[in-house]
Symmetry: C2
Subunit: 242 residues, 2 copies
DNA sequence: CCAATAGTGTCTGTTAGACAATATACA
DNA sequence: TGTATATTGTCTAACAGACACTATTGG
């Protein structure tokens, strides 16, 4: 009934975009990929840093997730990341070009080396930024600061009770490496023994031989049992004194 | 850069809709509001049951949430529900009228009595359906079965560790009533003593005088300390034998 | 043998769950 | 007083966190 008067579909449609928060570990810190907005007088936020993303192309993109994957591969050449939707944001203010709604995803990729920063990108159109440098006072294009903080909040919340950080490491990795990633994302130290107990109990790792040279004593290397989805712990991490 | 060739915004835009899973407790069961699609040859799924929702009206709706609230109040006359976004779904198949993306919210409202079913709606254009009757074989319009199951999954997941079910009760309510709601949503019994301990420890209730007549011994009535957002428990419910 | 990191063992406080016991209303 | 429900108390197993201890490498 509410749709009847508009069955002709002639009314104005909102702009539809997909934006991505692509996380990885770089320089011993959780980092996110930013791209520079193009210059040009008819472009909003020219030259500003933004999350990678853009309009849904209804010719090229069969779905929102496909659109997210396309934009991800355009920027990183990573084809099998962990990808999860954060949510959507839409109003008449966030884009000066008109009423727009964006669908936000976050991706976790292993430390990408140079796969993400081909030579020409030293021409500062793309960069990794440590998330600790992102605050509400950060000036990203559009409302991307807000979107990024929401993605970060989601990530940190789930890290408390899932194996998500494993997707930020290249395989094989060691348990001490994995623990360091947890600590970087959460911003607090974790007990070694408790961490190992939890990780093994969650049963999402398979042994893959000792890794030498990483320190005085070689550590066991592990691979993920299932790279598609994380394992869930029965409880969250929580310090005793809390 | 990816936006440059389209700076004119002349490309085709997806259809943008908002759909709602409005939950309440009815007839001692968790239920969801369904509306009947209008008849008419130019309407998709004529006469089929669907989640309430529809196109975003960029004239009337300043934002997606505002759009969700508008559609909610059109159907239920409830103005202060608990409202949470579930996510968004979009592809070229889900709506026969074209590439469409929908933003899905779920709402929790107290048992509404007749506020939701005014006299004329006995003309079967709107109904409450127990969620236990919803399966993947249910035939709702569009992909609404999938959307509803996602909303239900989200609700059930959060009920394990939040006070969300309290939003399904009219205030004041008793702890046994609240426990029954938890059990209805989760589909399993909970231990009385453990439930009370958790609820009181979470500190989201305020006493509101004894409620007589609900049984042999009157129970304490409670109100929510904050009707805007739920409390979070430190752990999930979990039976010992699991 | 020492330093450094990997990995394990032990202890203890907390707490959820099971279940028993008590409290309070109405008939 | 009896019955039904509300509310509290007790016991125990599980387990996270703290922290000490052992293991294994290179120098």
């Amino acid at each position: 009934m509410a749709r009847n008067p508009r069955a002709d579909l002639s009314f104005q449609r909102p702009l539809t975009t997909v934006d991505l928060a692509i996380f990885t570990i770089r320089a011993d810190a959780l980092s996110v990929l930013l791209v520079r907005r193009p210059d040009g007088t008819d472009e909003p936020y020219p030259g500003a840093w933004a999350l990678p993303g853009g309009f849904v192309d209804i010719e090229k993109d069969p779905s929102l997730v496909a659109c997210a994957r396309r934009k991800l591969s355009e920027k990183t050449a990573i084809s099998t990341p962990y990808l999860e939707q954060v949510g959507s944001w839409g109003d008449n203010k966030r884009d000066p070009r008109g009423w727009s709604a964006t669908h936000v995803y976050f991706a976790l990729i292993p430390n990408p080396g140079d796969a993400v920063e081909p030579p020409q990108t030293t021409s500062n159109t793309i960069k990794w930024e440590a998330v600790d440098n992102i605050t509400t006072r950060t000036r990203l294009a559009f409302d991307h600061t807000r979107l990024l903080l929401a993605a970060l909040e989601r990530l940190r919340a789930k890290v408390e009770y899932t194996s998500l950080p494993a997707f930020l490491l290249a395989e094989p990795f060691t348990l001490p490496q994995l623990q360091r990633v947890y600590e970087m994302v959460l911003g607090r130290p974790l007990d070694k023994s408790a961490f190992r107990t939890r990780a093994m109990a969650a049963d999402f790792l398979t042994e893959d031989g000792l890794i030498k040279g990483s320190g005085p004593r070689p550590a066991m290397g592990y691979r993920l049992r299932d790279r598609r989805k994380p394992a869930y712990f029965p409880r969250t991490f929580s310090p005793r004194d809390k």
